[in-house]
């Protein structure tokens, strides 16, 4: 693979600190590791260890611990009633209407926002890629929704739709849009889409940069229309970038929390699963049920990721990473 070609050039410095010249790279099959090779391995592990340890300590251990907590009756309001109850928390949650409502809301928000963002993001990516006048201005403005604190943006949307205060409140006649389920969900999705479309667009723009200009010109000479050039030339080249963007955004959308917290606080059945888990833990102080939801959300996300990786095939980000930039 290209890993070899990129690293062989500079192997001398790779083992640099030890000051050894590594053995020739080819034919390393059974040959015992050279001194330099061993030093390189050791350095690699040393450099990665702190990052790996932190990441595992703060994610792997807690998620296992939450599996353990989810098998217990554990309510901080009644700590002496703590006991092992097997899977009964799962039965409680999975037979609960609120959980399935929240799950449905989360899925709806995920599917709708990601679909809309893909279309808008593609448009924005093309605008940012192609535009000549004010390119810097467009890119700068597009980055603001990406960078801004979600809570701040959510407050802006909330006040915009609040009757009496907001400039949008009377757009669809009288009434308070944030207090009705359908319109509140629509506003939550609008806020999500506004905030994350630029991120989607940036990922897609990176894919767009890979489309060879010559190929577009050739297609144009052969009489392909703009739409044909888009679907027959650009989309196939961009496919890996699109899949990566979709994966990241889908999993991110599934975690929706900040916007709902500020816009509706989950009222009128607008809670997402994250909102519900938060409420059970912090408001309800029920660690057992909260952990059960944590585990269920983790499983749901794992399933989504698995489906995407199946779709990716060899284009999964981890597998191409070794090959360097291009």
């Amino acid at each position: 693979m290209s890993t070899d070609s990129t690293t062989t050039v500079d192997r001398t410095e790779a083992a640099g600190p030890k000051g050894r010249v590594p053995a020739p790279r080819r034919g390393r099959g059974r040959v015992p590791l050279s001194e330099g090779k061993r030093a390189e391995r050791k350095l690699g592990w040393l450099l990665c260890a702190p990052a790996a340890l932190v990441m595992l300590a703060v994610t792997a251990y807690p998620i296992l611990y939450s599996v353990w907590l989810s098998l217990q009756r554990f309510d901080l309001k009644f700590p002496d009633q703590r006991e092992f109850v097997g899977l009964s928390n799962y039965v409680t949650v999975l037979s609960n209407g609120y959980w399935w409502t929240a799950f449905g809301v989360t899925m709806l928000i995920t599917v709708v926002t990601v679909a809309v963002e893909l279309v808008l993001g593609m448009g924005l990516a093309i605008v940012m890629h192609r535009t000549i006048i004010g390119r810097g201005l467009v890119r700068t403005s597009a980055l603001i929704p990406y960078g801004i604190v979600t809570v701040v943006a959510a407050f802006s949307w909330r006040y915009a739709w609040t009757p009496g205060t907001g400039y949008l409140a009377t757009l669809f006649g009288e009434g308070a849009p944030l207090t009705e389920r359908a319109s509140a969900l629509a506003i939550i999705m609008l806020a999500e889409i506004w905030k994350t479309t630029p991120f989607m667009a940036l990922l897609l723009m990176a894919g767009l940069a890979l489309v060879p200009e010559d190929l577009l010109k050739a297609a144009s000479m052969d009489g392909a229309s703009a739409w044909q050039r888009f679907t027959k030339v650009m989309l196939p080249v961009m496919k890996p970038a699109i899949l990566v963007a979709l994966l990241f955004r889908t999993l991110d959308a599934f975690r929706v929390f900040d916007n709902i917290f500020v816009l509706t606080a989950g009222a009128n059945q607008t809670s997402s699963v994250s909102m519900l888990a938060y409420n059970n833990l912090i408001r309800g102080l029920n660690l057992g049920i909260g952990s059960t939801m944590s585990v269920l959300i983790f499983i749901a996300v794992a399933i989504i990721a698995f489906v995407f990786v199946k779709l990716f095939g060899t284009a999964a980000p981890g597998s191409t990473d070794e090959g360097g930039r291009r």
Partner: protein, 279 residues
Amino acid sequence: MAAMDTTAAAKWRWGLLDVVVVVFALVPVLWIASLSFKTTGTLTDGNFIPREWTLDNYRTIFSTDQFVRALVNSIGIALIATTIAVVLGTMAAYAVARLDFPGKKALVGVSLLIAMFPQVSLVSPLFEIERSLGLFDTWPGLILPYITFALPLAIYTLSAFFKQIPWDLEKAAKMDGATQGQAFRRVIAPLAAPGVFTTAILVFIFCWNDFLFAISLTSTERSRTVPVALSFFTGESQFEDPTGAICAAAVVITIPIILFVLFFQRRIVSGLTSGAVKG
């Protein structure tokens, strides 16, 4: 397509699209800024541009402990988390980009998994673990999860940057008589600095933005960050109508973001795209 871009009509069309994008991106920001400058009397007039301007809301928030403490917490926590994440990320990214060792793929895989990890799944166990370790409602209690979730971003972005550095220059410097240390300081560090700096900005934005961990793992002003403090301005706080104060506080924490975006737009774009999409 490239040929058509040169015609006047196409220029206008692209220009119009640019305007749509800029307006769409900026309106919510301008709106909250506008609200923050409105007087109490005109706050609810629904006008997009304030009829009367005032700085009272800013005076109010800076005169209360609630906001100032939160601002100090936000800045301190984000800076410390960013520094640690960038240092650890630089070490790991150097190894990923330059060294050959078993377990490299595993590290990249783990970072990818953590980048996609549902953070809410950690809220319950971390709440309990941090309570028993005495980390609940402290700076380290927030810094730890921030480092964890910033590391994948840092490792991806930095290793992409490091792969582009012409490392032969280091060899050349050493041939010209520079020591290992000199070669690093004079040649490699200046080349790597932009990538490290860009990563630091992205990580800082991530930490600055977080709400879920901040609201779940804190309970008092001791470690509450601004996004959380904002959401508590409502209701029983000392402000009669918190809208103006919330908006002013919101504008204050948006300023660093705007500055980053204005000055480092190109770097942020290249950092995000190189880190997130590869191959």
